[in-house]
Structure formats: structure tokens, C-alpha cells
């Protein structure tokens, strides 16, 4: 479990000071898929870099299972980073090894795993993200964009983290690739039972996959709740120029027509199935 308490981070550039995040409070439970949403510059990326102590807060705390991660006496930095895996935006640019296998093995090697354990972890991580075994001996630079990204995610998964944080894992991919990678994120959570933090600026992606959504705006956490709770406040969202997903709009329109659509449908496919089964279509 990760608890973020009164987290504030101030960037200094020359004589100018900007609060990137102000007094953020958030708790991520074990096994939860938490979505963090907000526009560019809302402080999402700054926030998540505190989760594995890459950035130190100006004030506030981050507790990992009750231990303050910035207290070097309580927990070593390397230990924090092993437990909280962070996948950056466009993670394919961090690949450097000759083969996919070696690149995924980088993290377990840094943590001093034995050769057998490294092999076990690499194979497991590659399988979880849907990389075929025959790709492991190829150069990571010879792969496609989506595959490179899978290698990078596997590289973090190979640490066996308790919490996996992904910054815009679907950025820059085509719609099909987006859906596939987000589906794999859900699969990681289901298979490993770990907490996942999914950062995105796309309501659609987050709504369809997250258990709870935290909305960042202008460095502050404005809302936090289940997708249904968040989208019920569509006016507040609009003020922040965040839109409810299109599929939610359609379902809301149906609700206005007097059709009792369940609250928990956020995926396009589920919505389509439900509508086909439950909405009587009149001919003509």
C-alpha cells in the first residue's frame, strides 16, 4: 500500500519558483488499479516520480507499507525502487543492450539475482507483456514501437515490484496498439496481484481500466473516486477542460431517455453488448 501525505514539490529555475504539486493526498491499496488523469503540466509526472524517490518532496511524505521512503535509515533507496517499479513515458528510449533478453535482465542483474533467477524472471516478464520467446535474442532496436515498449515494461516488471507505475503507457501508439497495451496492463495486475498506477491524459483509457481515478489539475488533486463517482460530476470536469468519455456520454443520453443503464459500464465493447441485449430497437 502506498500513502501519499501532503506532498508538495517546488521547482526552482533562476529566481522563479513554481509549485509543480501542492498538498497532494492519495492512498493506493494493494491490488488496486489507480488511474491518475490530468492535462499536460497538471503535475502527474512530478507526482509519480516521488513514488520511487527519484524526486524528493519539498514537504510531505510517501509511505510504502507504512515506511517513509525518504527516510534513508528506514529503507534504502535501491530497495524503494525495487518495490515501486516506474515505467516512464516513451520508455523505449531507455533500451540499450544488444539483445532483448539482456535488456530485460538489466534490473534483476543490478539487484544481484543469480543467473537462474534472472532467466526465470526475464521469461516471466516477457510472457506477461506478451513478448514471444523468439524475440528475446533479437536486438531491441530492430523491433517495432509497440514491441520496444513491451520490452521496456518487462524490464521494470523483472524487478518483481509490489507497485507498478506507468506514465502514459499508450502514448504515441495507434488505437489498436493502445488498447492492446492497456489490456496487458490489466493482465499484469490480474496475474501478479500488484497495485498498478496508470497515468494518462485520456479519459477513455483510464475510465475503461481503472478501479479508481484521481484527477490532477494545476498541481492539485481535485477529485478521487470510482469512475462512476467521477463522471457524475461532469460539470466540474468540464471546468477543468477534461471530458467524460464518449461512451459515457452515450450511456448518459440513454439514461435521460429513461433506460436504466448500469453504473459500471465504461468499456465500449461492454456498452455495445449491453445495448444490443437490453435496448428494444424499433423498426423504421
Amino acid at each position: 500500500m502506498i500513502e501519499i501525505r501532503h506532498l508538495t514539490h517546488t521547482y526552482t529555475s533562476g529566481i522563479h519558483k513554481t509549485d509543480a504539486i501542492r498538498d497532494v493526498n492519495l492512498t493506493i491499496a494493494d491490488g488496486e488499479l489507480m488511474g491518475i488523469i490530468g492535462h499536460t503540466g497538471s503535475g502527474k509526472s512530478t507526482l509519480i516520480q516521488h513514488l520511487n524517490a527519484l524526486l524528493k518532496p519539498t514537504s510531505g511524505q510517501v509511505l510504502l507499507d507504512g515506511v517513509d521512503i525518504f527516510d534513508s535509515k528506514a529503507i534504502a533507496l535501491k530497495e524503494v525502487r525495487k518495490n515501486v517499479g516506474l515505467v516512464f513515458q516513451y520508455p523505449e528510449y531507455q533500451l540499450f543492450e544488444e539483445t532483448v533478453y539482456k535488456d530485460i535482465a538489466f534490473a534483476p542483474k543490478n539487484y544481484g539475482c543469480s543467473e537462474e533467477e534472472i532467466k526465470e524472471r526475464v521469461l516471466a516478464a516477457a510472457k506477461t507483456v506478451g513478448l514471444k520467446e523468439n524475440l528475446l535474442d533479437k536486438s531491441p532496436f530492430a523491433l517495432s514501437g509497440g514491441q520496444k515498449r513491451r520490452v521496456a515494461i518487462a524490464g521494470v516488471l523483472a524487478m518483481n515490484p509490489k507497485v507498478l507505475v506507468l506514465d502514459e503507457p499508450a502514448a504515441g501508439l495507434d488505437p489498436f496498439g493502445r488498447e492492446k497495451i492497456l489490456y496487458e496492463v490489466e493482465k499484469i495486475r490480474a496475474q501478479r496481484g500488484i497495485s498498478v498506477v496508470l497515468v494518462s491524459h485520456s479519459m477513455e483509457d483510464v475510465a475503461a481500466h481503472a478501479d479508481r481515478i484521481a484527477v490532477m489539475h494545476d498541481g492539485e488533486m481535485k477529485m478521487c473516486g470510482t469512475p462512476a463517482e467521477i463522471f457524475a460530476q461532469d460539470q466540474v470536469l468540464e471546468e477543468m477542460r477534461l471530458d467524460v468519455p464518449q461512451i459515457t456520454k452515450i450511456l448518459n443520453a440513454l439514461r435521460k431517455m429513461g433506460i436504466a443503464v448500469p453504473e459500471d459500464i465504461f468499456k465500449v465493447q461492454e456498452a455495445a453488448d449491453w445495448i444490443l441485449q437490453n435496448v428494444p430497437f424499433t423498426k423504421g
Partner: protein, 267 residues
């Protein structure tokens, strides 16, 4: 770690020094650099020192920030200091084996220390208060006469602009890659020299790949916009020589005159 390098970095601000004509700033810096090398007595540093402190004050750049740039060359200063102390002939101060430290050497080392520090502070004041773009514009404009003898001044300036333009980008990228590799348990700060050098590979490989990609993309983008070098090119930012610049020039001359007067008196 990377943020500690002040040398050659711009410090955003809105002061008179920031707004001054880059050509003037470059010329003044050059004059002072040459001036510093003509100083022969301790007192001779005084006028330049006073002027530099005055410029730092009105530029609103904090003192500690300027002095941070000296950290980068601490080793250089230490080495030259040792050479001066031990290799100058004169009255012996103390002796380690065959190495003799002399009072004359100590004096010379101190003198060099002040000179090098002043050099660094003055040049970093130029870069701290001038954006790289303005700096290259200034250099291009100052070198313009060389075009007459077919020196490709514009092309050099363009190369410099591009190189300078990409320093922050590459720094940012380095920072990002370092963070990404730290997130995978990479350790850059412990181990012996060889281990540390090896720890750089996961940073350098992605960095080079992205630098080449960027260069390639930039070349294509420039071609697409029909970049043809210097022919009939106009500038978005025109340089203006204002009253402040004239005043600065007068001050500089005064400082130089003072320096020579003091030198003349002490000799």
C-alpha cells in the same frame, strides 16, 4: 548532479544586464579577459573586481549561483596551484623530498587563483545573462566583416546555434534516461572508476541513439523549409545598440584606465 554545472548556463532574469546588446557584452567580456592578463600587481585586480561585483549586483543573479560555476574547475585550480607553488624558484617555504615549495610560488599561485576565478566569473556572467541564441547572434554580427574574405560565418553561427540549442535538450534527455535507469536499480555513484565508467553505458547508448535521431529529424525539417544558408536571410531578432550599451562601454574604458593607473603607481 547535472544541475550543478553553472558554466555556460542561462539564468533567466529581467535586468539591465540581461537586456544589454549581446555584441557589447561579448566585447566587454573580451576586453576584461585581455585586461586580466595584463594585470601585474595585486592591486591591479581591484577595478575589474569592483566592476564585476557591480555587474553581478545589478544583474540580480545571486552571488552563490555565480560562484557555483567555480566548483567545476576546482581541480584545475588545484593542479595549477601545485605547479606554481612547487616549481617556482625562490626562498624555500617547506620541502617534501626533492620538491621545494617557495614563497614566490605561493604568491604566484594566489595570483593565478584570483586570475582564473575572475576569468570564470566574468565569462559566466556573459553566459548567465545572455541566452545562447542572442550570444550566437552577437558573435555572427561581430564576425560579419570576415564574410568579405569568404569565411562561412553564417554557417558557423548556425552550427553553434544548433549545438547550443540542443544542450538543454540533451541534458534533459540525459536526466530522463538516468532516472529511467535508476528506476531499474542502476547505480551511478558507487564503485571504482572502472565500474562507474561501465555504469555510463546504459546512459550513453540511448543518448547517442536519440542524438542521431534528432540530428536526422532536424536536417529533414530544415530541408523541408528550404534552408539554403546565408542567401537573402533576414533575422527575427534585430540587435539594437542602446544608450545603456554606450554607458557600459564608457564604464569599461574607465575601469581599464583605472587599472593602468593603479598598475603604473605600484610598479
Amino acid at each position: 548532479m547535472l544541475k550543478d554545472i553553472t558554466l555556460g548556463q542561462y539564468f533567466p532574469g529581467d535586468s539591465v544586464v540581461h537586456k544589454a546588446d549581446p555584441r557589447m557584452k561579448i566585447l566587454i567580456t573580451l576586453v576584461f579577459l585581455i585586461g586580466l592578463f595584463t594585470v601585474k600587481s595585486w592591486l591591479g585586480f581591484l577595478p575589474v573586481l569592483v566592476f564585476t561585483v557591480f555587474v553581478i549586483r545589478i544583474s540580480q543573479v545571486p552571488f552563490w549561483y555565480v560562484l557555483k560555476g567555480l566548483k567545476a574547475i576546482a581541480v584545475l585550480i588545484a593542479i595549477t596551484g601545485c605547479f606554481n607553488i612547487f616549481l617556482t624558484e625562490g626562498t624555500v617555504w617547506f620541502q617534501i623530498g626533492w620538491l621545494k615549495a617557495t614563497y614566490e610560488g605561493l604568491n604566484l599561485a594566489g595570483f593565478m587563483l584570483v586570475r582564473i576565478c575572475m576569468l570564470i566569473v566574468i565569462t559566466s556572467m556573459l553566459t548567465l545573462t545572455t541566452t545562447p541564441i542572442m550570444l550566437t547572434d552577437g558573435i555572427e554580427s561581430l564576425l560579419n566583416p570576415l564574410k568579405k574574405i569568404k569565411v562561412p560565418v553564417h554557417e558557423f553561427a548556425m552550427m553553434m546555434t544548433i549545438a547550443l540549442r540542443f544542450i538543454p535538450t540533451i541534458m534533459e534527455e540525459t536526466d530522463k534516461i538516468m532516472k529511467a535507469q535508476s528506476a531499474r536499480g542502476a547505480d551511478f555513484e558507487s564503485g571504482n572508476l572502472l565500474q562507474r565508467a561501465k555504469a555510463m553505458i546504459p546512459i550513453l547508448v540511448p543518448l547517442f541513439i536519440s542524438a542521431f535521431r534528432r540530428a536526422d529529424e532536424l536536417a529533414v525539417a530544415m530541408e523541408c523549409r528550404c534552408y539554403h544558408g546565408d542567401q537573402n536571410r533576414t533575422k527575427l531578432r534585430q540587435l539594437h545598440f542602446s544608450g545603456i550599451d554606450a554607458l557600459a562601454a564608457v564604464f569599461t574604458l574607465l575601469v581599464l584606465v583605472f587599472q593602468f593607473v593603479i598598475e603604473g603607481m605600484t610598479l
